[in-house]
């Protein structure tokens, strides 16, 4: 039985979040084997251009809803609208990125539609004509393969930076279907009073390079060389739980079991021993570098390169070398 794919295009400040095109790429990966069409949904306030981009990224059809009440993502109006669209669709795979919004929206929609859910997946394939989704569990110490039962909709979110989108194809054509919002503003139970964005800093979950500090940095001022290396590499600043719990750096930087899960190309861990809870958040980085004064820490089991030395001597030298070699 053919199964259609429906992909939510997540917008941040009116622009498509890169994770939306990664979700499109994930859909494209299984669309052939599932034998269905690919539909994108775009909700927002002024989404015409995004709908066009979705077609260029592979959508055959795009549902758009353009309304001031949809200008910023909120779960209730988005979920109710998406669930209403699904009521009129044959059983479909509903795909989105496993961002903070995507995880929430897919779970909410799955509840409204009575659908099965496979969140935060790292691989998708088709087994006997049915979708199978691979996802880490128990903070990376188990791998689950989720398969769907029954004939209803299936909701899936895919982890950031796993699926690589192809270049857009401007020659593609597709149908755009406009739908009205499902809720009026006074039916929406929440109001966004203000939004604070961290300007000028690279988002941890999106960063391709992360430089992190742990207990070994010794204090808040110890993060200075760590931050300097992150800046020199154009990367984001991370931290272990020990450093966050000590109050040296805000929680938003925490990588690991009770922080963020990241999958950058390069992860440089400075003064981090590699507790299982930290490994949970970063061990799938493509290249891991550990800098630690101890010659034997658990992180060395996962790291590709290690420097056993004082980070306060080595980091400034690495910053200088990076600046020299990369011309920054």
């Amino acid at each position: 039985m053919a199964s259609n794919l429906i992909v939510w295009i997540e917008l941040v400040d009116g622009q498509a979040d890169p994770i939306a095109w990664q979700a499109m790429a994930a859909a494209g990966k299984v669309a052939g084997d599932l034998g269905g069409s690919l539909t994108a949904v775009v909700f927002g306030d002024g989404v015409c251009e995004i709908a066009r981009q979705a077609i260029e990224a592979g959508a055959d059809r795009v549902y758009t809803a353009d309304d001031p009440s949809l200008g910023r993502y909120r779960v209730e109006p988005y979920a109710k609208l998406l669930a209403r669209i699904l009521e009129h669709e044959p059983p479909s795979v509903v795909l989105m990125g496993a961002s903070t919004a995507g995880l929430e929206l897919s779970a909410y929609v799955a509840a409204l539609a009575g659908a099965g859910l496979a969140p935060d997946c790292t691989d998708l394939h088709v087994e006997d004509g049915r979708l199978a989704a691979v996802r880490p569990a128990l903070v990376g110490n188990l791998v689950s393969t989720v398969t769907f039962k029954g004939a209803g909709h299936q909701c899936v979110t895919v982890r950031r930076n796993i699926f690589q989108p192809e270049d857009p194809d401007p020659s593609r054509t597709g149908e755009i279907i406009e739908v009205p919002a499902a809720l009026s503003e006074d039916e929406i139970p929440t109001t966004v009073a203000s939004v604070e964005t961290a300007d000028g800093t690279v988002s941890l979950t999106e960063a391709s390079i992360i430089v992190s500090g742990g207990r070994g940095v010794g204090g808040p001022e110890g993060f200075k060389p760590v931050r300097e290396l992150a800046d020199a590499l154009g990367g984001a600043l991370g931290a272990s739980r020990a450093a966050v719990d000590a109050g040296w750096i805000p929680y938003a930087h925490q990588v690991g079991q009770t922080g963020k899960t990241v999958q950058p190309d390069l992860y440089i861990a400075c003064g981090i021993s590699g507790a299982i809870q930290h490994l949970a958040g970063m061990k799938n980085a493509r290249v891991i570098v550990a800098i630690n004064k101890d010659a034997d820490v658990p992180l060395y089991r996962y790291a590709h390169y290690g420097i056993a030395g004082d980070l306060f001597s080595y980091l400034p030298a690495i910053v200088e070398e990076v600046k020299k070699r990369l011309g920054r």
């Binding site: 995880l103 909410y108 799955a110 859910l117 398969t147 966004v192 604070e196 390069l266 390169y305 420097i307």
Partner: protein
Amino acid sequence: MNIIALVKQTPDTAQLSASMDGLKLSAEGGPRIVNPWDEYTLETAIQAREEHGGKVTALCLGPPEAADALKTALAMGVDEAVLVSDPAMADSDSLTSARILVAAIRKVGAFDLIVGGRAAIDGNTAATAVQVAALLGVPLVSYVAELRNLDPSDRTLSAVRLLEKARETVTSRLPALITVVKEINEPRYPSLIGIRKAARANIPIWGCKDLSLDAAAVGAGASGVEWRTELPPVREAHIEMIDGGPEDAARTLVDRLMEEKVI
């Protein structure tokens, strides 16, 4: 205020070791803790009661041994605890778990606030509490890093949400369901008196019958997904230690990173 705290018991990942892999840890009888995110759930609920009065009821869906998680909740200071447990409920997926919890919440009665954690560290779906809000039709405020204003008389709350790329301040009507992240507070340790009281507590167990749920409507059979679980591929140690003083090591490291095309 009537506050409901949703708590899960999870494997204790701190016990993972060379001789205790993920499968052994998850197996029946393995070491268990209160889901680390739910320590913040409990602290949030208890603080709300301390400020506004009322009662905190902790609900936990799990096998009989999950009563231990509720003992911790009682020792921390929740007023009542209920274990939702039935052999028929085993291997429920997130939506089926949410349906069971909704039935339990309805049995608890009227509420002003439901608190859950961002996720549980075992399944890590970050879905069940969200789905409870969807099924109850109450406002959902997720990823709460700060509860600025909880006003039971005005029936509103204001909270700061920690999103991937922003901090968002939202207001919501009450009753509402919030999920919390670590930044929100520092969970208290159970007091000695609390631990003694909790040890004596008789924790009620609600099964399918108590919740008027058909056994066929819960558990693996009623779930929209099934899953098979295995250990991740073993990772061989393949580290290259870079020797030398800072300048030499820096040069070698940058060489390697450029060869790897990661910088």
